[in-house]
Structures are given as C-alpha cells and as structure tokens.
Subunit: 280 residues, 2 copies
C-alpha cells in the first residue's frame, strides 16, 4: 500500500512512523506546505518522498489528512473531487461535525473515513513525531455508516495493527465528548499558565519551586495556537458548555474555602477521587 | 546517624528510602498512629523498627515530621519540649507560616529546620513510597536564620546527598509561592474531575475517550483529602488569591471564545506558551 501523509507534523509524522513500524506501507509520500517541514520529514525518514498534493492524489492508495482542523474540510472536498473508487481518504483531526457536514452530500463521501486517534503531546512539527505513539490509545471512527465497507475495513485494520481499540460514534457525540476529555484540559492549562505568569511579574522566584504537580497540569499550555485555536473555534459551543461548568465548579470550591466549609470541601474532594475509576 | 520518621506515608516513606539509598543512616525508626501503616512500613522495609513517639525522641538524632500539615505544629512543639541540644527536628510539609509562628518563641526553636521537598504524587500511604523520589527536585528551607548552624548543616547535607538544589525563603514567601505552583494545580484538577463526572451522568461513554492530556491534567484529583484539606485551610488566603486570578483568566478565555475573538485567543495562547521558559 502506498500512503500519502498530508501535513507532516506531530500527528502526521507519528502516523507515518507507526505505518513503518508495522510494515503496513511499502511507500510513504509526504505533502506539506512548509519547506522546513518537508526537509525535516525527509531528514528524519518520516516519509520516502515529498510530492505535491496532485501527485499524492494520483499515486496514493490511502491519503491521511493531518493538518489543522480549520483546513481539513476544504481540503477533504478538493481531494474527494478527484479521487478514484479504489482510494481511501481519512483525517486524524480532533473534531468532526463541520467536516462531516461539509462532505455529507459529496458523491465520493463513502471513500472518506473520519477518524480521531486519541493521542497527542504539547509539541508540534515533524521533529515532535514519536515512535509507537498510538499503541494502547483509543481511536474514534465517526459516522461509519457513511463510509464504504472496504474503505472502513482498510482503516480499521490499520488502527487495529497500531494496537488501538476502536470506538464508534456520531461526529456530534465525538465533538461533545472530546470537549470534556481533551479540549477543556488545554484551556485550563493555558489559563493556569497565564495565572502564574501574571503573578511572576510581582514575585521573581516563583518558578524555582515548580514541582511535578505543576508541570503535569500546565504542560499543555505549551501547545501550539496554530493547532488549538481552530479546534476551540470549531468546537465552540461544546467547549463553552464545559468551560461554564468548570468555572462553576471552581466558584463552588472558592466559596467553600472562603467559608472554611471543611465538610463541603472534603465531600467534593472525595467525589473527585472517584475519577480513579476512569484513569488508573 | 539514627533517624525517626514520624508519619510513614508517601513522603515519610520515600524519605526513608532515600536515606537508605544514600547510606545516610545506620538505623531508621518509624512512628505512625495507624496500625496498618506500621505493619506495611515494616513489611516494605521502609523502617527498621516501629517505636513510640517517646522512644523516637529518646533515641533519634534526627526526627522527621511527615504528617498532615494540620498535625505538624502541635507535634513540633511537643517534640521541641523534650529534645536535647544534639538532636535535630525537621518537617517536610507543604506550608510553613502557621508552624513557624507556633514554634517561633520556643526555647529550642533552633533545633528545628522547616523544609519542603518539592515532590509528591497523587497517591498516599507507605505503599506509595518511591525510590529516588527527591533526586533533581528542589527543596525549600524556610527561615534558616532561626535554626542552629549545626542543625541546618546536617539537614542541608542530607538534601544535597539526595541530589536536591536548596532554595532559601521566608515561610511567608514559601506559602505564597507554593500556592501558585502546587496548591492551585490540585484545586483545578479536583474541579476538572468534578466537571467531567457531572457530565458523565448524562453521557455514558465520555471516558472511553480519556486521552493523555486529560490524564495529566486530572491525575492530581486522585489526591487524598486527608493530606490536602489541611493544606487548603492553612494556606487559605494565598490560595484564594490565586484561585480568584485563575477563575478570572478562565472568564477572559470564555468571553473571547463567545465573541469569536481569534486575535485575543491567539495572543493569550502565545503568552501562555512562554511557560516553556520555566518547564522544559
């Protein structure tokens, strides 16, 4: 199988590495509009050849869209316009509703499989790509009934070979759930970084102390605005829902602390502890 | 040197392991008011013998208070009441102002060194103790001018042997800074866990998706209320300051998102990215 990775950054690059590790492709083509990324992807051996988008569409059996989510819908349509019935296109973006709406009436819609592998780091670019990145993580496949059985099967086999449990959802469900388990974590990290940076203006040595707890809650604040702004904008209504609830929870915490409400605080913390049912 | 660990949990147990690893002590005594902890600490080899507090005071060259912060000031006074001039007492708690105020006029104050090794995990109890826990982390020593030079030197040598850079601060400074780099992270994690658990009542499958970002921002929500409630209460005013600022930052984020203010969001994220100056 010949695969074209369109956008050879953190996710696209890691996808390429996983394809190689599992011997899924005999050739990996790379498309990227940044010259620096193209050179780096070749240097790191993420892809075998750099090609144009047109060449990728002409040659590849599988095309993987790994670009910021605001660029995915338009490019998806352009690719579907030119695709043959033996080719498959997937995206690996974090949100799906707009994309799936945009392509819903396209005559080649069934060659597209909308996927969201649940992995990422706070870093970006081809040099951030990691070996074995996806293994053990879940992948969401959205609106599977809109994809042709053979296209779906090709993609499912790849993700199973990567070692990823597959979860099926509608694109609307996936965008709601992702707001809760991924997008909000990024917003709280950005806000926490800003909170501490604000204080640092008064207090010089504040960061001498930054310990493990701080690092793990704030590391996502290093994430790229180029990736995350489009996600926040496209998933705005779901994110606003969860953000309002999160601010509400923090207000309750603040009020309990102001009132020295030990019982209330203890009860809230015990309830929060039950999160260990979910994350080990 | 003979050391007594008072409170053989996550921190006390890890302290004992580090003492052993670096051959600092020929004997480690353990004091704990939980029978389960005492048995576990012996079974895991964290301590050589279980003794009473009185025996610990009679025998040990160094006494390490590793109990919840609401219990430290009273026990510190009781120990200082009975201590000889060749003994040293330290605490390893997360806040200092109340403790240092309580012991400030004690005739044996100079045998006490107030320390905060900047390490922890979301787990508790002797079975949570880790080898090499403190290496590479900072330790804060508060109000060093209140400690006798020989007591200070003993403690500094131990922490240097553990591989910990030492930072000196007043107890008030340490409590302020710790609110920003440790305590707030715990509150946001608790609140984030509650936010998601609240939503889970409506949406069954929300946690199938929980990816790496979620885990790292929410893992502190597994932390013990027994450890953290006393910290929040004792450091209430500093924590309220930072909590108000954090809620304010989240409100700004929310408003920018409501208004589709892309420039504002991008600017805020870029500013937050500068946190990479501090955490690598």
């Amino acid at each position: 199988m010949k695969t074209a990775i369109i956008g050879i950054g953190l996710i696209g690059g890691s996808f390429a590495l996983s394809l190689r590790e599992h011997n899924i492709c005999n050739q990996i083509l790379g498309v990227d509009n940044s010259e620096a990324n193209r050179a780096k992807a070749l240097e790191l051996g993420l892809v075998d050849r750099i090609v144009s988008l047109e060449e990728a569409i002409a040659e590849a059996d599988l095309l993987v869209l790994a670009i910021p989510v605001d660029a995915i819908p338009i490019l998806a349509v352009k690719i579907l316009n030119k695709i043959r019935p033996d080719q498959t296109v997937i995206d690996v973006g974090s949100i799906k509703s707009e994309l799936c709406e945009m392509i819903s009436q396209h005559p080649n819609r069934n060659r597209f499989v909308a996927t969201h592998p649940m992995w990422g780091t706070e870093y970006s670019g081809p040099e951030a790509a990691q070996h074995g990145a996806f293994t053990g993580r879940s992948v969401v496949i959205c609106d599977r009934e809109c994809s042709a059985p053979d296209a779906l099967q090709t993609v499912e086999e790849i993700y199973r070979t990567f070692g990823m449990p597959i979860i099926y959802m509608s694109s609307e469900e996936q965008d709601l759930h992702t707001a809760y388990v991924s997008h909000i974590s990024h917003i709280t990290s950005f806000a926490l970084a800003l909170t501490v940076l604000e204080k640092e203006r008064e207090e010089e040595h504040i960061f001498d102390l930054a310990g493990g707890g701080f690092e793990s809650t704030v590391r996502l604040a290093k994430s790229s605005p180029e990736t995350w702004l489009p996600i926040f904008i496209q998933n705005k209504y779901n994110i606003l829902d969860v953000l309002r609830e999160h601010i509400h929870q923090l207000q309750i915490f603040r009020i309990m602390l102001e009132k020295d409400d030990r019982e209330g605080l203890k009860k809230a913390m015990r309830k929060a502890n039950t999160i260990n049912r979910i994350i080990k």
